[in-house]
Symmetry: C2
Subunit: 439 residues, 2 copies
Amino acid sequence: MTDQQMVRPAAISGFPEWLPEVRIVEQHWLDVVRAGFERYGFCSVETPSVESLDVLMAKGETSQEVYALRRLQEDAGDSSDSRLGLHFDLTVPFARYVAQHFNDLVFPFKRYQIQRVWRGERAQEGRFREFTQCDIDVINVDHVPLHFDAELPRVIHDVMTGLDLPEWTLNINNRKVLQGFYQGLGVDDPLEVIRTVDKMDKLGAKGVGELLSTKVGLTGRQVDACLELASVRATHASVVDAVQATGVRSELLAEGLDELAFVMDALRDLPEGSVVADLSIARGLDYYTGTVYEGKFKDWPNYGSICSGGRYENLAGSFIRRNLPGIGMSIGLTRIFAKLLAEGLVTTGPSCPSDVLVVLPGDEHRVVAAEVAGTLRGRGLNVELYHQADKVAKQIRYASRKGIPFVWFPPFSEGRAHEVKDLATGEQRAADPEAWQRT
Amino acid sequence: MTDQQMVRPAAISGFPEWLPEVRIVEQHWLDVVRAGFERYGFCSVETPSVESLDVLMAKGETSQEVYALRRLQEDAGDSSDSRLGLHFDLTVPFARYVAQHFNDLVFPFKRYQIQRVWRGERAQEGRFREFTQCDIDVINVDHVPLHFDAELPRVIHDVMTGLDLPEWTLNINNRKVLQGFYQGLGVDDPLEVIRTVDKMDKLGAKGVGELLSTKVGLTGRQVDACLELASVRATHASVVDAVQATGVRSELLAEGLDELAFVMDALRDLPEGSVVADLSIARGLDYYTGTVYEGKFKDWPNYGSICSGGRYENLAGSFIRRNLPGIGMSIGLTRIFAKLLAEGLVTTGPSCPSDVLVVLPGDEHRVVAAEVAGTLRGRGLNVELYHQADKVAKQIRYASRKGIPFVWFPPFSEGRAHEVKDLATGEQRAADPEAWQRT
């Protein structure tokens, strides 16, 4: 093969892939997430990786991030697929799915969806072009009970606790509190204030205050009240007292505070500090209308949110003439996993799932070796049969390099017993293939 | 919202998606496949959905099928991703992966890979544009032991037996037998004969015979011998006798027959008729060099192959200056699943994973209902807590429509016991949340 024909294999920026020993951990994470979602009765949905561009841009705001498809040979066959794009989140496909299959679903419809999504962004820390999201959403006709505002963060808390992450906090707020507060203050455009206050992370209180004053046109008293509200943090329903102390009143504010208190109260059994009412968070997306969520690592406050979500009205409204409000949360699995990996906090073990390697010292032992491997597999163990007659030391080295914990020696002469060697301790002892247990 | 803004949600031809009760079955299939692969010690690898077009076309033969990516806004950011395409199989990405991570892998490297692949084909029965493949491959430096030629079909047999499919046959052949036989016959271009005989399915023996005579230019005696070889089918190593009876001899043929006999002999414990040596199959792809596999449904012989694979030399040769031969098999999961679904052979059950619905007759019972749900979840059960205070009959109807088998009644007044209703039998009896088992 000549130089011209060689293609250098290289990582593509923003498209992560892992070595086998890392993939095993990622797969364990995915199992934990799935089991956690199912523990609360959420059902699995998968949608195609693509949607029509009409569907993807029904909200008209995300065209920049979409990867559209093109056939390499445009003249090959029909061209209907030139109007397809890879989905950039799992919410839009879910809304389309619910609208499309409306008559076949039972409501409130609780689904989880664990899939890759794609964004044509510049890759940087915490931002990938292909990554795995783990979403739960509840959609219902006309009204989603407040019950779910408290259930969703509990599910996410449970799941992420199972991942054994470094300390993180789930911050909760309610858009009605923000909008109602700003209305009570006599602000003309509460949404504009929400968008501005949402920049607190980047600009700090001083920067936000200046913008509220110069750009949004608030009075000094209004600016002070906005900043006061944004500073409220509480670990339980007492958040209501803190807001009421500001003296600002409105019907919408009262409604939002009731909802927020209900959620905080329902979560009061979770470990202190794991869930915090934080009135500074708003989640930029305009479609949130009530409870909003945002999870952050405690030690890396500037790293992006590791889970997020909220309540939205009628997300499927572009696709069906029904009122279908919903509430959802999403775990940024790849973002979390990649961060922990980069920080050296992912503990890897073996590079394969095998419990046992059965050795094969000579071809004349092939039948008996294959039999014991079959017996052990039948009992639920993951077993490799060494692939050729070879020196035993070489076979043990193979097991050791792959992290296979046990090496099995079938009886290679009449009357001898089966023996198993524990590579961690070096101990070797007789064992019965019908009864042996991995310790 | 006006008419103009509505987007009709519709299925996209060739991109399947399932309702929740069907997805549960598909997910079970995926679990069975994964567990089966791990039972033999294969490790999981996932690669990005995209590769550079250089990598995808290193073999230069598949450009027609590739979906390349394009940013919707071409001027947004860097344009490096305009040279990316979605992978059309899992073999090319795996070859690139092995070359790229060569120094970090233990050889022989046994991996499984269960991922979606994309092909820009016209959708038709059994052909999708997006579908899930389940691959196992072994790659080694310089030489892959014959052991794996027998292990791979055993793994696939085990896995597919676990899927409880309608009767199917795994046909096995060896390209050396074909090539050696044609050499022994004095044919000039054995590969051309292989490609022609591979059309047996479509053209029948008569059509293939005509082509061999007129297009490939074989003599009548040669054509007869080729057709005789292609008619050989045997369920065990006796296949060797049948070929030797033709009187044709060559060194390569003898080598191929030895390999084929080894494989058939190693699989002789599998149920009669499940594995067949079929000397008519060749697998069109030119890169197979030894054992080849092709699985077919018995009742739908004209439906595409449901699993396939073979032994190849140096597949990663485009990416690294190493000799890395391999052997692999692939299960066409979506193709099989969609066929069974179309034939009404997929038995669906509940549309959610819940074991139990805990009822909530009034808001005053919310705490105790949430507690019992938590207790049951802690014991590994999948539990929904009904989402609002409502009539009990309505809550039972919800469970029934979703296929939740048990409804739990917490003690709603002092001194009463917990009770569980089995919706299948209608029976209701007292139960202890700390001890109750789903039957």
